[in-house]
């Protein structure tokens, strides 16, 4: 028994190099790094950040971590093992991040797309995906021949609902006959479920598939069925060279470098960042050649207008689904409305799960 204990103690001293000037950065992911979507986007940024700092940082990841007790345990173990800053890269880690952060006030917590900030050592960060969704809606609305867009949605949370609304409004603007069919999977990463959803949507007449789920399954199904699709979070062209029109590509690296630098400098402070096209946090995957040149220019123009601040994707007049006014003519949506969005805009025929 004693031998065993010494061996175990040895293994730990070996595993944790005692160099105090190395900044330890931990990442926990909801999916596998090989999802080619959301988690891949975060891990890409982690790798870029690690390369930027070289030996000054040591990064570690744990993938496929469920929300709840598992996430809490993994983050606690990271904190115990001397991690300086932990990036929790999924919406649902909120309660867990807050519970662990309370117990480890010296560890910096960065929670992606979160909304609970009970302690001074929690930063929230998010991307304005609805800006990208506006571009998808514009392209999808013009490209569809059946006037039907199929939308695979994950969880009915504000970010996802705002994305649907943004895509719908911009599709509607260029195609008054547009219809949105929406399927909720209640999961971020479930290739089988996403493939089923895509097939169902195609059967219902959709010839453009949008997704707010992380796998490449829908793009593959679209490719096989000869319809069009947009990828998610990463460029998914290789999974559907004909089908894949574009994708909102997440680029967290500049932000990660910035925040880790702040930890190194001792200047890290809790903040709440919501970054968009203008910050380089999201960008569009290369346009598919099947998108007409004219439409490509329109899309580029839309992005340029958003970056310049000339255009806000939610500009009134916009009514809620039930007909009550939301934004007056020319009014733009305040951030708080978008961050707590729990309604569809007028024209969407589906019902929000409730």
């Amino acid at each position: 028994m004693k031998k065993l204990l010494t061996a175990a103690a040895l293994s730990v001293t070996m595993a944790i190099p005692a160099t105090a000037d190395t900044t330890k950065v931990g990442f926990i992911y909801i999916g596998p790094v090989g999802d080619f979507g959301w988690t891949a986007g975060h891990d890409r940024a982690r790798a870029e950040m690690a390369e930027h700092f070289g030996d000054a940082v040591e990064t570690t990841i744990v993938e496929n971590v469920d929300y709840g007790a598992d996430a809490e345990r993994v983050m606690t173990q990271m904190a115990i093992s001397g991690t300086d800053v932990i990036f929790a890269a999924s919406f649902g880690y909120g309660p867990d991040v807050n519970s662990v952060a309370g117990r480890f006030p010296d560890v910096a917590f960065q929670h992606a797309t979160g909304y609970i900030q009970d302690h001074p050592n929690i930063s929230l960060y998010d991307a304005r995906f609805y800006e990208g969704r506006a571009v998808l809606g514009h392209i999808g609305g013009k490209m569809t021949e059946t006037n039907t867009v199929g939308y695979i949605a994950s969880f009915p949370i504000p970010a996802v609902i705002a994305g649907i609304n943004s895509a719908y409004l911009h599709a509607k603007a260029v195609n008054p006959d547009i219809q949105f069919r929406i399927i909720w999977t209640y999961s971020w990463f479930d290739p089988a479920l996403e493939a089923d959803a895509a097939e169902t949507l195609i059967e219902q007449g959709a010839d453009v598939i949008m997704q707010h789920t992380d796998s490449t399954a829908a793009v593959r199904v679209a490719e096989d069925a000869g319809v069009m699709a947009f990828g998610q979070a990463s460029d998914m062209t290789q999974f559907g060279p004909n089908a894949h029109l574009s994708a909102i590509v997440d680029r967290w690296a500049p932000y990660y470098i910035d925040r880790v630098q702040a930890v190194m400098d001792g200047t890290w402070e809790a903040q709440n960042s919501w970054l968009g096209f203008a910050d380089g946090i999201i960008e569009m995957a290369p346009w598919n050649d099947r998108i007409p040149a004219e439409l490509q220019e329109e899309a580029d123009g839309l992005i340029a207008a958003i970056i310049a601040g000339d255009y806000h994707p939610f500009t009134g007049p916009i009514n809620k689904q039930d007909g009550t006014p939301w934004l007056a003519d020319g009014e733009t949506a305040p951030d708080v409305d978008l961050a707590t969005m729990d309604f569809y805009v007028e024209g969407i025929t589906a019902e929000l799960p409730n």
Binding site: L5, V12, N64, A69, I80, S81, D342
Partner: protein, 361 residues
């Protein structure tokens, strides 16, 4: 020439020895896999099996966590094992676990924010009742219409998941946080919080319940008439019928016990480590418990060991991801190997390999 010969009686020695041998073989095969991934196999195995219990850095935290992770597995598996012995196949413990959690949380949310010592006991009763009720569906369909309980209980898992989503989005949604799915955090509601009984030990009421269930299951299976009927029905259904054992009654009892225990596990989880009703609340305990039941040889005390072992591979698996950057998928393969080797080795419980000289006529 190698010949297989069926044993007259299953070997008691191999029944006991196989799980240990399976762990050993998993270590060897897993070690080879880790080495092929370019990781130090010895360090990896040590991180998975020893560091969660013995490491200076992690053990004080991960030892209690081991109980928290294993308790629901043991609680569910003990119930399933009784049914499996009687050839009653409840594959839907995951669904009963979810419904139990919803019943328990429902009681808590109905009383919120009232204080009261009686709230938690009521939640316990409700949780067990919820799981029991959900298990009664396949039980009654089986006894009345002779449907297959494997299919019915399994499919009811998906129904339960949808009910869970509907509850998290609707009825049980936290009214103070509109726009976001999920109920109130029960850990912040003292009367409903399944807290640690002794701080820092990981022992919450679910762990206590698991222990009680193990002892009761053991007593029932070895000392009580019902346990005898269960064994008889499993091994010799015809003889059991002649002996006056009613198959329908056994089906109801077995599904009822396993459903109630799964419901209890869900209730203790949602009011403690899980904390709230959320769409992603169910994380597969009900399915993993099937593995635990078989790994533990359907014996209550074996199940305790098996539950702890599986819990260990989860916690150690996370540590090895964190410390050695072993991919999550490799850890899952590693856990899969454990079951694979056990099933493969079980072969020699019933058969023996004989070397014979020359061909037989």
């Amino acid at each position: 020439m190698i010949r297989l010969e069926k044993r007259k009686e299953p070997s008691r020695f191999w029944r006991i020895a196989n799980p240990f041998l399976a762990v050993l073989l998993t270590m060897i095969a897993g070690g080879i896999m880790f080495a092929a991934l370019g990781k130090d196999p010895v360090a990896a195995i040590r991180l998975i099996f020893f560091d969660p219990i013995f490491s200076e850095t992690f053990a004080s935290y991960s030892r209690p966590q081991l109980l928290i992770k294993s308790a629901p597995l043991i609680l569910i598996a003990v119930g399933l094992a009784i049914g499996f012995k009687a050839n009653v196949w409840n594959i839907g413990a995951e669904g009963q676990y979810i419904i139990g959690a919803l019943f328990g949380a429902g009681v808590a949310l109905a009383f919120f924010p009232a204080p009261g010592w009686y709230i938690f006991p009521l939640m316990v009763i409700a949780g067990a009742f919820g799981g029991f009720l959900w298990a009664m569906i396949p039980a009654i369909l089986k006894t009345r219409f002779n449907t297959n309980e494997i299919l019915v209980s399994l499919l009811l898992v998906y129904v339960a998941e949808r009910i869970l989503a509907a509850m998290a989005l609707g009825l049980m949604r936290n009214p103070d946080q509109p726009g976001f799915p999920g109920s109130r955090d029960l850990r912040r509601y003292e009367a409903a919080y399944n807290a640690e009984i002794f701080a820092g030990t990981g022992v919450h009421w679910g762990v206590v319940a698991a222990l009680i269930a193990v002892i009761f299951a053991y007593a029932m299976m070895t000392r009580h008439m019902l346990g005898y009927h269960v064994q008889l029905a499993g091994q010799a259904p015809r003889a059991a019928r002649f002996g006056g054992v009613s198959p329908a009654r056994l089906v109801v009892i077995c599904l009822g016990i396993s459903g109630a225990l799964a419901g209890l596990a869900g209730m203790f989880e949602v009011s403690g480590p899980g904390g709230q009703v959320r769409i992603e609340f169910a994380s597969g305990y009900g399915f993993t418990a099937i593995i635990v039941a078989f790994l533990g040889r359907l014996n209550p005390f074996g199940i305790v060991l098996a539950g702890l072992l599986l819990g260990l591979t989860y916690i150690g698996g996370e540590l090895s991801q964190m410390m050695l950057q072993i991919p999550g998928a490799a850890i899952q393969v590693f856990q899969g190997m454990l079951l694979f080797f056990l099933l493969a080795l079980d072969f020699q419980t019933n058969y023996r390999i004989r070397l014979t000289k020359g061909a037989r006529a």
